[in-house]
């Protein structure tokens, strides 16, 4: 017994180190599993409020650029209003039918924390469950997709950016609808890699890449970017396509959070078929 105590006293420094180190590494591994919700993230109350104050200051500096963007977006929206179109209808009768119903709801939010320099990047936005933002909702910006909501607290939410080596997103080439998965290699924040497009498909530099809508998170047809380069995978039957992102992740400010009202239904259905 005494020998044991002596051993602990003699090596307490190393044992202490081991304990702290194991605990930290445990935290890293636990947190790497990005579907798991964790309490200690930037969506919690204290850090959420710090970043809120910080981004208030930052958004002041970027006001000019932001106004430009908002006004261009407004113009687009005005253009899509019903009143701007002339009706070709011959009949004067309006028909209300039930074939259309709402599938996606959109909320706007403000990015209050953001990073592009890590391997696994996250953002924090200033909307949470009180404002109708929940886990696994899609986040897009006016110029393209941004990420997926990971955790939501009452008034904040943390978002996994697509600049995260853990995230795979289903994407397709707009002109011929071949789909593959998008993966970030952790190097350049302006580019992302599209894999699993077979060799026989005809692609060109400059082709538009959009979301495929197969994942129940992103609606179909959201812009991702354009092809800037492609090569044949070594020894494989697939292309390795470099996509230039249309969103500048260093300048994100306002984003839209999109919820799919039919997600649960789709998931349940897919689950039952998988079990068969």
């Amino acid at each position: 017994m005494r020998a044991l105590i002596n051993f602990f006293l003699k090596h307490y420094y190393f044992l202490l180190f081991l304990a702290f180190e194991l605990f930290s590494v445990f935290l890293v591994i636990e947190n790497n599993n990005y579907q798991k919700s964790s309490f200690l993230n930037s969506a919690n109350f204290i850090s959420g409020n710090i970043y809120n104050g910080l981004s208030n200051f930052n958004s002041y500096i970027n006001l000019y650029e932001l106004n430009e963007k908002l006004s261009s977006e407004n113009t687009q929206l005005y253009n899509s209003l019903k009143t701007t179109y002339k009706s070709n209808k011959i009949s004067l009768l309006e028909i209300y039918d039930s074939t259309y119903f709402q599938q996606y709801v959109t909320t706007s939010a403000h990015v209050i924390n953001n990073s592009v320099n890590r391997q696994n990047n996250y953002l924090t936005i200033d909307k949470g469950e009180n404002q109708g933002v929940y886990q696994e909702m899609a986040v897009t910006s006016p110029t393209g997709i941004v990420g997926i909501v990971k955790n939501a607290s009452n008034n904040f939410a943390s978002v996994i950016s697509i600049l995260n080596t853990n995230v795979h997103i289903s994407a397709m080439i707009k002109k011929n609808e071949y789909f593959g998965s998008l993966i970030w290699d952790g190097k350049n924040y302006k580019e992302i890699t599209l894999k699993d497009i077979p060799n026989h498909v005809n692609i060109n530099i400059g082709d538009t890449i959009i979301t495929s809508g197969y994942s129940s998170i992103f609606p179909k047809g959201k812009l991702i970017g354009v092809i800037s380069d492609f090569e044949h995978e070594k020894g494989g039957n697939f292309y390795l396509i470099t996509v230039k992102l249309s969103t500048d992740f260093k300048k994100l400010s306002y984003v839209y959070v999109i919820g799919n009202l039919l997600k649960q239904e789709q998931k349940d259905l897919e689950k039952t078929s998988e079990n068969d």
Binding site: Y12, Y13, F14, L16, F17, F20, E21, F23, S24, V25, F26, L27, V28, I29, E30, N31, N32, S38, L40, N41, S42, N44, S47, I50, L54, S115, V116, N117, R118, Q119, N120, Y122, T124, S158, T165, G186, K187, N188, Y189
Partner: protein, 168 residues
Amino acid sequence: MIKLTLRNIWRFAILVFLQIIIFNNIQFSGYINPYFYIIFIILLPFETPKWILMLSAFLLGFSIDILSNTLGMHASACVFMAFIRPFVLQYISPRDGYEASSLPRIHYYGFTWFLKYSVILILAHHLFLFYIEVFTFSGFFYTLSRALLSSLFSIIIVVFSQYIVYRK
């Protein structure tokens, strides 16, 4: 003694604040990010009990982790750095040891000593941090270059800060 403790607590808070507000936003060419906050561990007094050294390093890394969504990464790197600090101090100690009531600063032991000391500790911290961040040895040299470039910047800032902030 109490004064020294209080001063270190202040330094802790200010460094975490600075790291989050300023240094986390400095990114040269997309992936060079200086981590200045570790100067806290570098500047702790020689006589700090080892368990306080370890605990404060853990808390330091942990606070940075919570604020930047990297749970565990900075904490583990800081703990590692704190662990090797006594050995480094022993390895580079001047011939007649460290004077009582002196601090590990450039003004007490000179530029070369301080540079050697901070280079070893910062390299240890950054290498540990960047490899635990990618959590794999694939892309070994890419990660290595990121770690080395960031270390270079951290070292420059740490050494310069000694001339700017601290007077004898």
